[in-house]
């Protein structure tokens, strides 16, 4: 049984892709999940650049978010691979008593403490745990052919994230099949979309992106399926001759009967052709 949840939308979704938040909220609402917004949320400390500048800042900032959730008696649910990796890795590091004590000294300075009694969930994992409930809600099977792109930080480091296996991952395929979609077999070792290099080296980032879309472009799928807003930006905006992209919650919301208007599908740069209902 999952405890009640705090939604942690992070900062990329709320600031640039609020429609992905709308789709996520639609799905959680349909599922009857007991959700509130995490009070006092800030960014988790972005895990690709910022975190590597100051590991202790990341650890303490993520611990602060976990401490707030703990105080409210709810677990945390992330909508973004980056947020999931940040919080889940922090959660893991903080299982060590010495580390937790060190971080709590910092948190003490803002009147907080983390005891280690919160769980961190990522939306795909949450859906997976509620298979029956999700399947029952599918009213409009989506006859789409999709290419899965789990994104690095849903998978690796697998020992810590514990959501899917890193060789031939299968979670996205499973969930998409409940929604009536067919998923092409993805690469055995899923590629990185280069999102982590955007802004630092655009040329290199674009080359990584091209490596990750060559398969989907050649197989002429209807869309790429991803649970990560960073990957979403790479595919929707930076990809040339783009294959459209669907965020996992968008697929599920549509299959649960959401109208494309309701979840803001119009905000996609690369338009997606949906099968007629």
């Amino acid at each position: 049984m999952t405890r009640p949840l705090y939604i942690f939308p992070g900062c990329l979704i709320p600031t640039r892709l609020p429609f992905l938040e709308a789709a996520s909220r639609f799905v959680l609402d349909r599922m009857g999940a007991d959700c509130a917004d995490l009070p006092g949320a800030t960014c988790c400390v972005e895990p690709i650049g910022l975190r590597t500048m100051a590991r202790e800042t990341w650890l303490a900032s993520s611990a602060r978010l976990l401490a707030i959730a703990e105080e409210g008696g709810r677990d945390v649910l992330t909508l973004c691979n980056g947020c999931y990796m940040s919080l889940k890795e922090a959660h893991h590091a903080l299982e060590d008593d010495l580390v937790r004590r060190r971080v709590n000294e910092v948190l003490g300075g803002i009147g907080r403490e983390y005891r280690g009694e919160v769980q961190v969930h990522h939306l795909p994992g949450y859906l997976l745990e509620h298979e029956e409930g999700v399947r029952r809600l599918i009213t409009r099977p989506m006859g789409l052919r999709l290419a899965p792109h789990p994104g690095c930080h849903m998978l690796r480091p697998s020992e810590v994230l514990r959501l899917d296996r890193s060789f031939r991952p299968e979670v996205l395929d499973k969930i998409a099949s409940w929604a009536g979609a067919t998923v092409d077999p993805g690469p055995e070792w899923p590629a990185c979309c280069g999102g982590g290099l955007a802004g630092i080296d655009e040329v290199l980032s674009a080359k990584l992106l091209m490596d990750s879309v060559r398969g989907p472009q050649a197989s002429k799928v209807d869309a790429i399926l991803t649970p990560c807003p960073f990957c979403f930006v790479q595919f929707d905006i930076k990809q040339k001759e783009g294959v459209p992209v669907l965020y996992l919650a968008e697929l599920m919301a549509l299959a649960m009967g959401a109208s494309p208007e309701r979840i803001g599908l119009r905000y996609h740069r690369t338009k997606i052709a949906l099968p007629s209902p």
């Binding site: 709320p14 972005e46 500048m53 800042t57 690796r156 480091p157 980032s205 080359k207 803001g264």
Partner: protein, 163 residues
């Protein structure tokens, strides 16, 4: 002929700090190099960096390739020795930052986090979209920003972005 300095030397181990215990596990099998999406296109070279970190021939402040890591963590996932090259690279970046070397893009992002509590800017466009979609405004509270700022001052990020 001098003896080759390695991370087993006391002095070298001190220099390497957090990096040493991990980097010393590296067997130079090349697994990380084979799977690195950045190296494929002339970016970072994880196996080589591991070797150079251990032998002391790497200066993080001058090693601009450190910033060409996408942090996909494929290298660490594939490493058979538990040397965690992805994490070693992160530690080396932190040494560069402590030495005053921060890419402009990240300096800006860090400043944004310190002042707004977010890594990405909120714009008029987002606010309009949120309204159209019937979403709560979701602004970061002043108290939350103050707490995040205080954490940055007490840990590393506050120092890193102050000139």
């Amino acid at each position: 002929m001098g003896v080759r300095r390695t991370a087993y030397d006391r002095e070298m181990a001190d220099w390497l700090g957090n990096v040493a215990p991990l980097a010393l596990l590296c067997q130079q099998c090349g697994g990380c190099a084979a799977v690195c999406p950045s190296q494929r296109h002339g970016g970072i070279r994880p196996a080589e960096l591991m070797e150079r970190a251990v032998s002391g021939s790497l200066d993080p402040i001058r090693e601009s390739s450190l910033w060409l890591c996408a942090r996909c963590m494929s290298c660490s996932e594939r490493c058979p020795s538990g040397a965690d090259p992805g994490e070693v690279i992160a530690h080396l970046r932190e040494r560069a930052v402590v030495g005053g070397e921060v890419p402009a893009f990240l300096r800006e992002e860090a400043q944004r986090f310190l002042t707004t509590g977010l890594s990405f800017p909120r714009t008029g466009m987002t606010r309009k979209m949120r309204k159209e979609l019937g979403l709560p405004d979701g602004e970061v509270s002043a108290e939350a920003v103050a707490e995040a700022h205080e954490i940055c001052q007490r840990t590393g990020l506050g120092r890193a972005v102050h000139d």
